[in-house]
């Protein structure tokens, strides 16, 4: 396609600007995490500075952050595993069976995407308190299923639908049991979709703040809660906050880049592909 050089150049400038816009806050966080406190408080802010890994050493030594990251890992991995375990059979049923109330069930799963955590946070707090579950991993693992299960069900249903039904018919003619069909045909062939949904589930759980803030105290503080807890006092430890932020954001960013092609599908529950 022929276009004028000026337009071509404007296009390049625009693309560079998009890249800079998307990356700047991330860059600023990472670079700030390597700045000395004096450099952090410099006015105007410094773009060139002598990097230090002091803040990373500090959060490594301060067991609060490492413990919080372990908590976040435990919660995110367990809730993801549970969501996949419970969600994939349901997805198989929704993809392949006809039964009464199917569309209602389907919509119910999807509406969970819209519900604000604050609606559930209050009653779950009271329930957890009366059951003695406050400040445990279990309560977070369970409550995170409210948004992870729908995402797993949605993405896997979509994936299982794309598996040719003839496969199932052939297997059933050979006498395979219904569960074997699911376990030996749908799960292995649908693995890409299962993996994508698991990654989304991990990202959403890892990033969650409100439930974690309300339902945990000291013992199972997750990483976002720990990072937030540094925001008090007169002179804020900016280097430490930004180092913690970097440690939190880096793994999910990598995961998100892996599923970047499916990002929109994950965020819209598949309404747009």
């Amino acid at each position: 396609m022929v276009s004028r050089p000026a337009a071509r150049f404007a296009h390049l400038a625009g693309l560079v600007l998009v890249f800079a816009f998307a990356m700047f806050p991330f860059y600023w966080m990472v670079s700030s995490s390597f700045k000395d406190q004096a450099d952090l408080l410099a006015s105007p802010p410094m773009w060139l500075f002598e990097p230090t890994i002091k803040h990373y050493a500090e959060i490594w030594a301060d067991q609060k952050v490492t413990a919080a990251i372990v908590n976040s890992l435990i919660v995110a991995v367990s809730t993801t595993a549970l969501a996949v375990l419970l969600g994939t059979p349901a997805a198989y049923a929704l993809a392949r069976f006809e039964f009464r109330g199917k569309s209602d069930l389907w919509f119910w799963f999807i509406s969970n995407r819209m519900i604000s955590p604050i609606v559930l946070a209050l009653p779950v707090y009271l329930l957890a308190q009366s059951l003695g579950l406050l400040d445990t991993h279990l309560v977070l693992i369970l409550i995170y299923l409210t948004f992870n299960l729908p995402i797993v069900v949605w993405i896997c249903t979509d994936q299982f639908r794309s598996i040719p039904p003839e496969l199932e018919q052939a297997a059933r003619l050979e006498g395979a049991k219904q569960f074997d069909v699911f376990w030996r045909i749908y799960l292995p062939l649908g693995l890409p979709g299962v993996a994508v949904s698991a990654i989304f589930s991990f990202i959403f759980s890892w990033n969650e703040l409100l439930y974690a803030l309300v339902l945990t105290r000291r013992n199972v503080q997750t990483a976002p809660v720990a990072a937030t807890s540094f925001m008090s006092g007169y002179e804020l430890p900016w280097g430490k906050i930004m180092a913690t932020g970097t440690v939190i954001v880096l793994p999910v960013t990598i995961f998100a880049l892996i599923v970047s092609r499916h990002m929109i599908r994950g965020l819209t529950m598949g309404a747009t592909k």
Partner: protein, 313 residues
């Protein structure tokens, strides 16, 4: 398994001329596969909601637990509906939505058009991939980062202002500045969402139609208006509904950035309900607010489902 699977697939392909039969299954089979997920979601999703509904009809103040938690009918709802702050926060939430949404749609469309236009292949993919970064960033960290970027003394936002000859500004210290700051962070985080949706819409325009249209007209505007727009509208509708649900949910970023302040300048609805519930400990009123919010959300999601999932029904 996969070799076996392929063999099965080939066999099935040979047998294909037969019409696609519906799979036979036992009456209880779906239940067997669905029950675990449904029971779990009922227990952790629906049960607390019913609990909230019941709580919303009681006087339930944790600071006055000794008085018990008697049923008071619609008293909480009456109090909430006549509470000026509740309406103010809803209005503020609406204002926030009406501020960020046009910016995100306009910028998102612009970015999508740039990413769709041929040329500069590598830079184009780099820009597209970079859009994923804001979407993945932990919302709480976005707020912490906003605190640093918009700091009055050493924030980089004021440095940008000074490059254009403006005086430094106490962003988070005054109401309109704090509102602008949360708008900017939200625009940063969610414009990529709009851009990627628009981009997928643009890539659905059949290539030959787009090529033919380009031969007909040199005007980008005409192309957009007459050829591409129909493919962008479904995405736009999805954006509007999902983003309004997201704004009603918005908590993390604002909580870590301004805690709703200064005063109540950035107190959106979720922040307010959290304050009433967990800082004032009036759980009855907070539950009533949450139920009202839930009703609103259910309306939104019915709308979304009606528009986008018609083919399943």
């Amino acid at each position: 398994m996969s070799v076996e699977g392929q063999a099965l697939a080939q066999e099935a392909a040979r047998a294909r001329p037969a019409r696609r039969r519906r799979l036979e299954h036992g009456r209880w089979t779906p239940l067997f596969f669905l029950a675990p997920a449904v029971v779990t979601l009922l227990a952790i999703g629906l049960y607390p909601m019913l609990f909230a509904l019941v709580t919303s009809f009681r006087r339930y103040n944790l600071t006055r637990a000794r008085e018990g938690f008697p049923f008071v009918g619609f008293e909480n709802y009456g109090r909430v509906l006549s509470d000026q702050t509740f309406w103010d926060t809803l209005l503020l939430t609406g204002r926030f939505f009406l501020t960020v949404m046009p910016i995100q749609v306009a910028l998102g469309l612009l970015i999508a058009l740039m990413l769709h236009r041929p040329g500069w292949g590598f830079m184009r993919s780099l820009a597209r991939v970079s859009l994923v970064v804001p979407l993945a960033t932990t919302y709480a960290v976005v707020g912490l980062l906003g605190n640093l970027i918009f700091n009055r003394n050493f924030g980089v936002a004021n440095q940008f202002l000074s490059w254009f000859g403006f005086a430094p500004f106490d962003w988070l210290g005054n109401p309109s500045g704090a509102f602008a700051a949360i708008v900017i962070m939200d625009v940063w985080q969610w414009t990529p969402f709009c851009a990627l949706i628009f981009l997928s819409g643009l890539s659905m325009v059949p290539v030959d139609i787009e090529e033919a249209a380009r031969l007909e007209t040199k005007s980008h505007w005409a192309l957009l208006r007459h050829v591409q727009l129909p493919y962008l509208l479904p995405g736009l509708t999805a954006m509007l509904i999902l983003r309004s649900a997201d704004v009603l949910k918005l908590f993390d970023m604002i909580f870590t950035m301004t805690r709703g302040g200064p005063g109540t300048a950035t107190e959106l609805i979720s922040i307010y309900i959290q304050r009433v519930g967990f800082r004032v400990f009036d759980l009855g009123a907070a539950s009533a607010q949450a139920i009202l919010l839930l009703l609103f959300t259910i309306l939104l999601s019915r709308l979304y489902i009606r528009i986008f999932y018609r083919e399943i029904q």
